[in-house]
């Protein structure tokens, strides 16, 4: 016995969720990380702490507050209802929002470290060589921070794949909409389908190992620059 069509649906949904979350996180995480790396503002501490919160909070706590916020009586829920989107709870869009918040530190922190390591000097040099800030970002910051971006993307993707608590709280368990691999494994175990659970759990184990292997091997080859 191998994977069922429901298993494949869960895998497909998980990959879709993790990819979309990673792309969104790279887009919004980059400016946040840039700001955290270069600002002298007093807000640096508080904002950094908020971004890091998901590292220490139980996923159920994040899920609980997101459920309240996105539900029909929450601020976000009332807003999305007002603009005709309905509520985001128990939907794929809701899962994406939850994942973005949940995986945020795994993307922002490697980027912030990379930007801090680059320091302000190359940016100043680029400006004295007539590069405007956007130009500087694409021609200097991006190439110099490339290892940081790779680490951030891998960690953000892998961490979203491994998500369970937040999904269960705000997404429930709707096939092809919110039932991701981790939830599917949980369902198999509940139904005492241990063989099925083994296949999926084993696949997750191998996947996670390969991701971390790729990450740690690439780190060694990056050392030449620093």
């Amino acid at each position: 016995m191998t994977l069922s069509s429901a298993d494949f649906a869960a895998i497909w949904l998980t990959l879709k969720l993790a990819s979309l979350t990673t792309v969104i996180l790279l887009l919004i995480g980059t400016p946040i990380a840039l700001w955290l790396a270069h600002t002298r503002s007093r807000l640096r501490g508080p904002i950094g702490a908020i971004v890091a919160l998901p590292l220490v909070l139980p996923p159920t706590v994040i899920g609980f507050y997101l459920l309240l916020a996105m539900g029909p009586h929450g601020y976000v829920g009332q807003f999305t209802q007002a603009i005709g989107l309905g509520t985001l709870t128990f939907s794929f869009a809701g899962l994406v929002i939850g994942s973005v918040i949940y995986s945020m530190p795994f993307v922002v922190q490697p980027l912030q470290n990379a930007f801090t390591a680059i320091g302000p000097r190359p940016l100043e040099v680029a400006a004295t060589l007539r590069a405007n800030p956007w130009d500087t970002f694409f021609s200097v910051v991006l190439p110099l921070a490339r290892p940081g971006f790779i680490t951030a993307a891998i960690l953000g993707f892998a961490h979203t794949v491994g998500e369970f608590g937040v999904v269960l709280m705000i997404g429930g368990n709707i096939p092809e909409k919110t039932r991701v691999v981790s939830v599917q494994i949980y369902d198999h175990v509940e139904a005492l389908e241990y063989a099925q659970a083994h296949w999926l759990a084993g696949a997750m184990l191998v996947f996670s190992f390969l991701v971390l292997l790729a990450l740690y091997s690439s780190r060694k080859s990056q050392a030449s620059w620093s």
């Binding site: 000097r121 190359p122 100043e124 040099v125 400006a127 004295t128 021609s139 200097v140 110099l144």
Partner: protein
């Protein structure tokens, strides 16, 4: 067009105030000289726009870069400047050639006044173009950084202690390039340094900074010879003189140099040079001794007639610094207080100075 650099800056950090109002020549090399913490780097960064002074007016010849009264602040990347940092700060992800082209590519074609071949030849880096910055020595990196800045055809070159991170051998390697730059390109340079030797070699004009204020600003020769500045208390106090080659003695390998505005000569050990060429010399105050008679029987080569102008305290209690006039050319001599009293020195007195050594700077 006014060929002048006007800089007014007011800036306060906790424990540090910068308050400058400088009118500097719009060509040649101006040294911003001072000890660390005097505000010279901050001044340079403000002129570049890397630091934003609260009250500021920055005008480079006919262009105004900053005027806080009319809320004008031209961002750094729109100021036609070249900036040389203490460390060369080459982009590590780009080859030497790509580093050089970084600025060049961002300049409109019709504004390019320095071409790649000229800049690489001027700085002796033509053979390095395909290398990566990691494979260069410190001196090579600094030369590439300099060429990279020149290729943006700047209207002002700002150099923040470009030699400070180099050992003395690398310094000697790069100094001739800076002097060539000075001679060949018509770009005004502001040169930050805490080394009197570099200033004496490179600068035409100097600003003496201390605790965020300018103590003096004037031509290098005049400023170094002033007795009322803290410079007089430096161990290597001395004067810079431009001498003109009058003759060359091939038998003894000695060059005879005429002092400006004078019929008196200095002889220095040097290779042959064409008559009429000028050489920059530094004469240290500690290398001059005073004598009441010409003392012809001496191994000291240079003995000149001079007049005592004034004196002040020197580096320590035992010494005094005497300013002398050699036919309009100022000289400083550092002698002991004891000798001063023995010679009964007084302003207006005529005597002979003996120059024990002369450093040829250019």
């Amino acid at each position: 067009m006014t060929s002048q650099i006007n800089v007014r800056l007011q800036l306060s950090y906790p424990g540090f105030d910068l308050d400058l109002d400088l009118q500097l020549p719009g060509k040649g090399v101006t040294a911003l000289y001072g000890h660390s913490g005097s505000g010279k780097t901050t001044c340079l960064r403000c002129i570049a726009g890397l630091e934003r002074a609260g009250q500021a007016f920055v005008q480079i010849n006919d262009e105004v870069w900053q005027d806080s009264q009319s809320n004008l602040f031209v961002p750094v990347h729109k100021r036609a400047l070249g900036y040389i940092f203490q460390e060369a700060s080459l982009f590590p992800h780009l080859s030497v050639l790509a580093n050089l082209e970084f600025g060049l590519r961002r300049i409109a074609r019709n504004e390019r006044r320095v071409d790649l071949a000229h800049a690489t030849e001027l700085l002796g880096i033509t053979h390095l173009l395909q290398r990566t910055p990691n494979n260069l020595s410190g001196g090579e990196r600094q030369r590439v950084g300099l060429a990279r800045a020149l290729l943006t055809s700047p209207k002002l070159l700002l150099m923040d202690e470009p030699l400070a991170a180099l050992d003395s051998q690398r310094k000697r390697e790069i100094l001739p390039y800076l002097q060539r730059l000075h001679a060949e390109l018509d770009i005004p340079v502001l040169y930050v340094s805490h080394s009197q030797d570099e200033v004496a070699r490179l600068a035409d004009h100097m600003v003496l900074l201390s605790e965020g204020k300018a103590l003096a600003s004037g031509p290098i020769g005049e400023t170094l010879a002033r007795l009322d500045l803290p410079l007089a208390r430096d161990d290597d106090a001395g004067v810079v003189i431009e001498g003109r080659v009058a003759a060359y003695d091939a038998h003894y390998n000695l060059l005879t140099l005429r002092l400006p505005g004078s019929t008196q000569h200095l002889r220095v050990a040097h290779g042959p040079l064409a008559v009429g060429q000028t050489l920059r010399l530094k004469v240290q105050a500690r290398d001059i001794s005073l004598s009441l008679d010409p003392s012809e029987h001496s191994s000291i080569l240079n003995s000149l007639q001079a007049t005592v102008i004034s004196e002040t305290g020197a580096d320590n209690q035992a010494h005094v610094l005497v300013r002398l006039d050699v036919d309009g050319c100022a000289m400083l001599a550092r002698i002991t207080r004891y000798s001063r009293d023995q010679l009964n020195l007084h302003p207006g007195q005529n005597l002979w100075i003996q120059v024990k050594s002369v450093a040829v700077l250019v």
